[in-house]
């Protein structure tokens, strides 16, 4: 990939934010701008989470190794939009009333799971640097970063629990997430398969003897 490609993707990832900013400036956010901002930043958090989770399967299926170098960037953009989403909530919905916010997090299930999903992304964002990978060691780092699966699942549940009746969009996100996670489960099972096969082969030989 040419060297300008990554910066280009970086700018493209900021597109949704620029679009929101432009629309807010031009007064094109409609009757309830704060609602639009809340929904849009939430949507893009989930989209970037799914894109991040799609990198590994995509690389394994199609091959190009360079794809993996974009995973961190997409993951950090998921965190970036999650921060904006959370800021919208705590600022424009709760007006920094922390007492209200905690009451909300404790009482409202969809906020509890959304907040948890966000909290789980924080250690991942912090330890996303090469330095932290070295410090933790590849295995432990990888184990920690599996938290993104939990965060993704909670994110979809957060969406599912907040809609009134039309669950089509959260179900769409859930389906994509389900496929991406199912791919990993299948891969795991496939990697394990030789062992039981070997064991049963051994058993037959014992029986034959």
């Amino acid at each position: 990939m040419p060297r300008w490609f990554k910066p280009l993707i970086f700018v493209a990832c900021l597109g949704p934010l620029f679009r929101l900013g432009w629309k807010a400036y031009a007064g094109l956010l409609g009757a309830n701008p704060i609602e639009v901002i809340t929904h849009s930043t939430g949507d893009w958090t989930l989209i970037f989470l799914l894109v991040t989770l799609a990198i590994t399967p995509l690389r394994k299926i199609t091959g190009p190794l360079w794809l993996i170098r974009y995973r961190r960037m997409f993951g950090l953009f998921a965190f970036f939009y999650a921060c904006l989403h959370f800021t919208t909530y705590i600022w424009l919905d709760k007006f920094f009333d922390l007492h209200e916010m905690w009451a909300d997090i404790a009482k409202r299930k969809f906020i509890t799971v959304g907040f948890t999903a966000f909290m789980l992304l924080i250690p991942l964002a912090i330890t996303s640097t090469s330095g932290w990978i070295r410090r933790l060691g590849g295995k432990r780092w990888q184990a920690l970063h599996r938290l993104i699966y939990v965060s993704g699942i909670l994110g979809v549940i957060h969406y599912l629990w907040l809609v009134k009746a039309d669950i089509r969009k959260p179900v769409e996100y859930g389906t994509v997430l389900g496929l991406l996670l199912a791919y990993r489960v299948v891969e795991k099972l496939r990697a394990r398969k030789p062992q039981p096969a070997l064991a049963s082969a051994k058993r037959t030989t014992i029986l034959q003897n």
Binding site: G21, A24, Y25, G30, A31, N32, L92, W161, A165, D166
Partner: protein, 319 residues
């Protein structure tokens, strides 16, 4: 980010309606290629006369009402472009476009159930039953936003009297039209169509309960419930059924669509009540469209005169 407070918007700054109505043509032009845009604008122009014929008609001789609030009226463009009208779409920004070709004439309302005589009334004769009044009401959505709308209509009781309900009629049920050909949202089973709502007779007969066929001095736009709807300002918005085709009087509490969809979340009464939360969100505050800060939600949406209808009732139980 620039979000203007309503109080800061001078009337001179509000987009003239004629420009506003044509904004889609402008947006199409900006977004698409020049040629496509020109074609689209041309097409829209061909379409235009029919779609605006009714909605832009002024209603003559509208009287003022002492029930009106003096609060700042929400801009017309917001009330006509931000609509919870699931028959068209679950996206609040879509009904304005999708309802353009919805046919509101001919239109009849059938009167059924516990009445002296079942009948079918033409909407244009219903509208003439009483002098039209402008009622500027607060309107609070169960989702936590609110608007102030200058509705045009008269007390629902005027129509109910014409229906001649029997003495044992305790409730009235409203049915919204079922027209999946014209209402794309009805092709999806998001709710159990047609939309049903209901009121207890004393609620329906309360002078505040409005039979509505206009707003902002004009005929009701399709996306706001044309040709005929009810407005029950002390209840959450979904209680105010739109595009009504049937009134049925019963002695049993009728079921309403949202209660059927989620009984633990939406009750039959659904009075605006800051002390009874929706199971998933607080109802203590609301965002008035155009305002930055949230404001406290008032009991019965500030319409204290209806409190006597519910004296002795546990409103946490009958939410």
């Amino acid at each position: 980010m620039l979000i203007k407070k309503t109080s800061e918007i001078k009337s001179s700054e509000i987009t003239p309606k004629s420009l506003f109505v044509n904004r889609r043509a402008f947006l199409t032009g900006a977004a698409g290629a020049g040629l496509a845009a020109a074609a689209a604008v041309g097409f829209r122009k061909l379409e235009a006369p029919a779609e605006v014929a009714l909605a832009n008609t002024t209603i003559e001789g509208v009287q003022k009402s002492s029930f009106s609030t003096t609060e700042t009226i929400t801009p017309y463009k917001d009330v006509t472009n931000y609509n919870n009208y699931y028959e068209f779409s679950t996206d609040k920004y879509e009904p304005a476009g999708l309802a353009k070709n919805f046919k509101t004439r001919p239109w009849t309302v059938s009167v059924e159930g516990l009445v002296k005589k079942k009948k079918s009334l033409d909407v244009d004769s219903i509208i003439k039953l009483a002098p039209a009044e402008e009622r500027i009401y607060r309107h609070r959505c169960v989702e936590g936003w609110s608007i102030v709308v200058p509705w045009v209509g008269f007390s629902l009781s005027e129509l109910i009297k014409q229906c001649e309900p029997l003495g044992n009629a305790k409730f009235v049920e409203f049915t919204t039209i079922y027209a999946p050909n014209e209402m794309p949202g009805q092709r999806i089973a998001v709710l159990d169509w047609p939309y049903l709502e209901g009121l207890r007779m004393d609620e329906a007969m309360h002078p505040l309960a409005l039979l509505c066929f206009g707003m902002y001095g004009q005929v009701l736009p399709n996306q706001d419930g044309a040709p005929l709807r009810v407005v029950v300002p002390w209840k959450y918005g979904f209680k105010s059924a739109k595009a009504i085709v049937k009134l049925r009087f019963t002695d049993q509490q009728p079921s309403n669509s949202w209660s059927k969809s989620a009984p633990s979340e939406y009750g039959f009464y659904s009075n605006v009540n800051p002390h009874v939360d929706h199971p998933r969100w607080s109802q203590a505050t609301e965002r008035r469209l155009g305002e930055f800060r949230k404001r406290p939600t008032l009991m019965f949406n500030g319409y204290d005169q209806v409190a006597s209808l519910y004296s002795g009732m546990d409103l946490k139980k009958y939410f």
